[in-house]
Symmetry: D3
Subunit: 117 residues, 6 copies
């Protein structure tokens, strides 16, 4: 199983466990997440791209996978995702260029074909 | 001198020192910054808002001041800035709600009147 | 105004602004916070001390002020707070010993008399 | 070999190498660790749970594995570990909910049966 | 494929993609990197060792692999690399001792024989 | 009192409190610190410069003040300190260029005259 599939499987599993254990903290987090990414003054697409930039700086692979996928579902194209990743690289330097590699892998998967190289 | 003015003064001073000391690393950083925030597939406004979200998560006051100001110059309104800050709070939790306070102060300054409270 | 008072004033102000601007993300965060610190299998006192340790590692002054105060209200004494800070220092090394200084200042304030020195 | 076993193997191996290379910094770290987790005003169990919360916020898998195991040896039950993880999620937001997934895996291993799901 | 080889393969692949997608941010980053590690008042060897210490504190495996290799090419021996890692452990505490394990693996590979243990 | 003097005063005060409260964790940390910065295979000067680079990336003002001063006492000149700061900027990007401003202030103080600007 590749890293992206493993992330998706583990996200679902943890989600089920936390609900089964009746974690009220996690439930409130789900509400916070729902509130954060609705279409508002900013369209959902841009909110997801903000999360992509944050994910690069905090080196969160699962966050990159999720928010790139959501951004694309909300209409973002490959160049837009790249430019969000670039803002992460500018803010986070060499450390972030390493995190950004996984974002590129996710983009290949989400867009269904490899990047030009 | 308030905190926002002090940030601006120190940014300018450090900029001058690094150029006077002929820091080639800093010069390359300036190029990276210039490249990251041009209008591209994503408009500059959205790139600045991505940086605002990152600034909240990394608790960078100077970054919040700069990128909120740039976002507003590029057309962002108060609610759009708030929603970028909210994405930062969702990604960064309680720690980020503390950082976000300074973003609210910057917003009061940039929009020239206090938030409703 | 000293740093601790300023933190308290800014916390209240940001709280009011975020509610006035009707931030649903912030409201959900307040629910998450309420859920996290109730007496549960772990008493509130210990949950607050966990937050103290996290605050030291993430260098969050406002978090130290809040969670030390809450821990003490829930029954923690000076030595217990110190030991939570020590876990933060063990996990976070030299960087955390710097953050821990503010925890000591908060302790002086909360316990109403200076530490022995 | 699964991730938890690999962590344990690598911890032992690094421990041996650092002692063989006579790292005095590492030796002092071991003393610091020993001092941090003794029963004191706070029982060892609670100190380990503080470390669990910190591990979630700093996304340290090895730390989660170690400190959850130590907390359980010192008497913590599943719900207590979960509540420590929840404090980490409150403090660290969406980023920490991702880290928390590994804590759930460690709990399944340590308690010898899967969580309800 | 082991973790070190995978890092090297992914670094090359991401490098090619970012150049193919004409990322001007990444190009400026490459200039910044080139400027940072030239022989200057500080020899390249010491600059690479600074980066090794930073990599330990930021838990960046790819950075450890790259900068240890570069440090050794610039003349650093095993004990010098270890001492840079030790500074990282002092600054970053228990969290950094976990990151440091991968630095030890890289050292085994770079020096072509296992550490004494 | 300026920020640098305040850092020095607070460091001393916290040091005294932690010793008065008999913190064994802090005592072990002092041993770790002593072990990390001795002249070894790497001279103390270079170890202090590694800590300077780390301090920039972790945005630790007190660490910058201390380690720049120690580096200079151990023989580092202004350009060498700058190059250590530059490695921090390369590794940490825009966020680190903000932290680096305080390093420049410390350099002005330590070298007894302002940088050219």
């Amino acid at each position: 199983m590749d890293k992206i599939e493993e992330i998706c499987r583990k996200r679902k599993q943890a989600h089920q466990i936390l609900l089964s254990m009746d974690s009220k903290v996690y439930r409130a987090f789900l509400d916070m997440e729902a509130a954060a990414y609705v279409d508002g003054a900013l369209a959902k697409k841009y909110k997801e791209l903000i999360a992509v930039g944050i994910s690069v700086v905090t080196d969160c692979g699962s966050c990159m996978q999720w928010h790139i996928e959501q951004a694309v579902k909300a209409g973002a194209d490959r160049q837009e995702v790249l430019e969000a990743v670039e803002v992460g690289m500018e803010m986070g330097g060499g450390r972030a260029t390493v995190s950004a590699r996984f974002a590129l892998e996710v983009m290949d998967k989400v867009f269904g074909e490899p990047s030009p190289r």
